[in-house]
């Protein structure tokens, strides 16, 4: 059994919030460079250069890449031989978010009541935490802040089994085309296939954690990912929706068994500032 003190968790979550928001992961930077090489549109080239420059400024000045530093999504994979001392894991994670967003000068974008008052919680809590119990004695924490320009463009479709593979790809493409310029393309697209209504959405979010450039290990999903990427980059939407070849930087699919009567598909659209940072305690 391993004992982890809540203060260790708080400190690590705080640092992950700041790192994720201020340092663009190298896989996305590489995708910008790649896009720049293949792009035909002069406007698109300028925009991709701006995005590279933006990431450099953010990292150098330790400021957020994007002002929408998101709602904090946290994936906590906790080994069943881990004991948290000093308080609850959820409280520790939220305290880490509170400190990260306050001390890191990140934007507080969370409101208490979604419908009427919409009063800001002022510290970006609560986080959305997905727990997963694993074997062993380690605690893996991933902080994935998610902006809402792209979150608002995400969709769930409850397809029929007869819609098949083409049905899956068509509804992903439809979601991308309808989103157009709104989610800050070039986008990264997470697709959750199967499970049920809420689990497909979880899978889509989880798919966004996969590094750009890495396909699914399941051959059928890899083929779907490649087809989505190819077709999305023929839509012409381009960076910022102003035309071009670089509409989607990457598409990642995750699947799960589902019911005989259904085929749920969730499409979590993400922007070119798809952020995630992790630590293992």
């Amino acid at each position: 059994m391993k004992i982890i003190n809540k203060d260790t968790i708080i400190e690590n979550v705080k640092n992950l919030c700041i790192k994720a928001n201020c340092v663009l992961n190298s896989d996305i930077k590489r995708a910008f460079e790649e896009g720049l090489k293949n792009e035909e549109s002069p406007t698109a080239k300028t925009i991709l250069s701006n995005l590279i420059e933006n990431a450099d400024i953010a990292e150098k000045r330790n400021m957020p890449i994007c002002q929408d530093t998101g709602m904090a999504v946290v994936f906590a994979d906790i080994g069943q031989e881990v004991y948290i001392e000093g308080g609850s894991l959820s409280d520790a994670i939220n305290e880490g978010i509170r400190r990260g967003y306050t001390e890191g000068f990140l934007r507080k974008s969370v409101v208490y009541d979604p419908v009427c008052d919409r009063k800001n919680t002022k510290d970006n809590t609560p986080a959305i935490i997905h727990y997963n119990i694993t074997e062993g004695d380690s605690l893996k924490i991933t902080v994935a802040p998610k902006g809402f320009g792209s979150e608002n463009m995400s969709r769930i479709y409850m397809l029929k089994p007869s819609d098949g593979r083409d049905g899956v790809i068509d509804c992903v493409l439809k979601t991308i085309e309808e989103a157009g310029p709104n989610p800050c393309p070039p986008m990264i697209v997470g697709v959750g296939i199967g499970g049920n209504f809420e689990y497909s959405a979880y899978l889509a979010k989880k798919a966004l954690l996969r590094p750009v450039g890495k396909n699914s290990e399941k051959p059928y999903l890899e083929k779907i990912e490649k087809e989505i990427l190819e077709r999305a980059n023929k839509t012409g939407i381009g960076p910022q929706g102003l035309g071009g070849r670089t509409t989607v930087l990457w598409a990642a699919c995750e699947d799960y068994p589902t019911h005989i009567a259904g085929m749920p598909i969730a499409i979590n659209i993400s922007c070119h500032v798809t952020r995630h940072s992790e630590c293992i305690l």
Binding site: N54, C66, P183
Partner: protein
Amino acid sequence: MDISLHTPITKETVRKLKAGDTVRITGIIYTARDAAHKRMLENKDKGFPIDIKDCTIYFAGPSPAKPGEPVGAIGPTTSYRMDKYSPEMIKYGETVMIGKGKRSAEVVEAMKKYGCVYIGAVGGAGALLASHVEECRTVAYEDLGAEAIYELKVKDFPGIVVIDSYGENLYETEPEKYRKD
């Protein structure tokens, strides 16, 4: 060649701008997101907290400024959330909107009728755009935090005319040129 614009930007200037023009804005612009728009229009009988005639509104909510810096990251937010409010703002004198993403037919109609232009700033380039902001002060609705109205003094703030005052719209024309069916 970028077109230099100095605020306040008049209707006459706006009518000369064409979709696809790249611009650099210098002067005073105001931030406002949905919450600020809602409050401004609900209280319009008491007067606007900004000089609305020929004003430039930037749909944005910055991240907090670090000590010694004028502003945090400040890129545009998605503009369609302001579609409900923009036609009225344009009627009262707003001439320039800066944001990102699609606009409704009603907004475009108001832009054509009264003379207003929609400029796209690069979404997600918050750190880069912050380098064009020299000063920032809260003008109204401080309780809204990032959603308050901020007065920004900007220098050579970069943008592209996405929808002009004649209804020409790059989001409709440009992707078609690169579409491969």
